[in-house]
């Protein structure tokens, strides 16, 4: 069995989680190309019982969380809590975590690295913001507006999958955000898209690595 393994949680019960679910497919496809064992907790499978069972049984090196969250927790399908500080965050020991969820870097991220010995936690200390184009809602992967937020974000996890360190992954994601912001500041960018800069800046500044 390959020792490269990735577990992905991707609920899809509302518009933002549905977008994250679709965009995570790109990550999953890459991981499979790179011969990772991929444990895909999509939709209803993104519940606490299944999550805990998969982590314990399969011992994934990397966990990629998608979903809502708060300072001390990350949630799954229908906002069921998957992982929470001092309740079950010991499950993160020895792993690399990327949490695409709101605020969880504030307490959960710090706790799981400093106390529970996760290798690294990349996440957000504020709410993760996402814009989408209403006209593309049935085709999230074609949504150019969403791509401004989700391409830099996906780069965290795809960089790790390609064999780079969490630090390099964080760095590349930050640089991609800046590149897109600078593009939007340029005369080449569509005028109506320039308004996204404020929110992209916020996501970039809220993104942290704890290691």
């Amino acid at each position: 069995m390959s020792n490269l393994s990735l577990l992905v949680t991707r609920p899809n019960h509302d518009r933002p989680t549905n977008y994250l679910c679709h965009w995570s497919q790109l990550v999953i496809d890459l991981a499979k190309q790179k011969n990772f064992s991929v444990y895909d907790l999509k939709g209803k499978k993104a519940n606490k019982k299944t999550f805990s069972s998969y982590v314990k049984k399969n011992n994934p090196q990397i966990i990629f969380f998608n979903g809502h969250g708060d300072v001390d927790k990350i949630t799954g399908i229908n906002d069921e809590v998957l992982i929470e500080v001092d309740k079950n965050d010991h499950l993160l020991k020895g792993r690399i975590i990327y949490a695409r969820s709101c605020r969880s870097a504030q307490i959960l991220g710090v706790n799981c690295v400093k106390k529970k010995k996760a290798v690294a936690f990349i996440g957000y200390k504020n709410d993760f913001i996402l814009f989408n184009d209403e006209e593309k809602i049935t085709k999230p992967l074609s949504d150019r507006i969403a791509s401004y937020f989700l391409e830099p974000s996906n780069l965290v996890i795809t960089t790790i999958i390609k064999g780079n360190s969490p630090e390099e992954a964080y760095d590349r994601s930050q640089k991609e955000s800046i590149r897109k912001i600078k593009f939007l500041l340029s005369p080449k960018a569509p005028a109506e898209e320039k308004s996204l800069i404020t929110y992209m800046w916020r996501n970039m500044r809220a993104q942290v690595i704890i290691n």
């Binding site: 509302d14 518009r15 933002p16 977008y19 913001i129 996402l130 800046w201």
Partner: protein, 82 residues
């Protein structure tokens, strides 16, 4: 001139100015864009503006986001990423 009870203080005026600034900047976004911030299923542009007008938690956060950006740009934070 004596201030009466209905005169907004400087702090209240600043708060109101920030609110109006955030609303104006949000209104520059195309109406077909939808925003997801925090929990919940996401907002239309109209709902986002209503949240600011109603002083909801999301509304306050939207104001913070705008003000943080303007402050950071004024401080030249973008140029630190050359």
């Amino acid at each position: 001139m004596k201030k009466n009870n209905h005169t907004p203080t400087d702090k209240q005026q600043l708060k109101e100015d920030m609110k109006q600034l955030a609303i104006a900047r949000l209104k520059s976004i195309p109406s077909q864009y939808q925003i997801s911030v925090g929990g919940g299923g996401g907002l239309t542009r109209k709902e986002a503006v209503e949240n600011i007008e109603n002083d909801s938690e999301i509304g306050k956060e939207l104001i913070d986001i705008e003000i943080e950006f303007l402050r950071d740009m004024a401080k030249g934070e973008l140029y630190k990423y050359e």
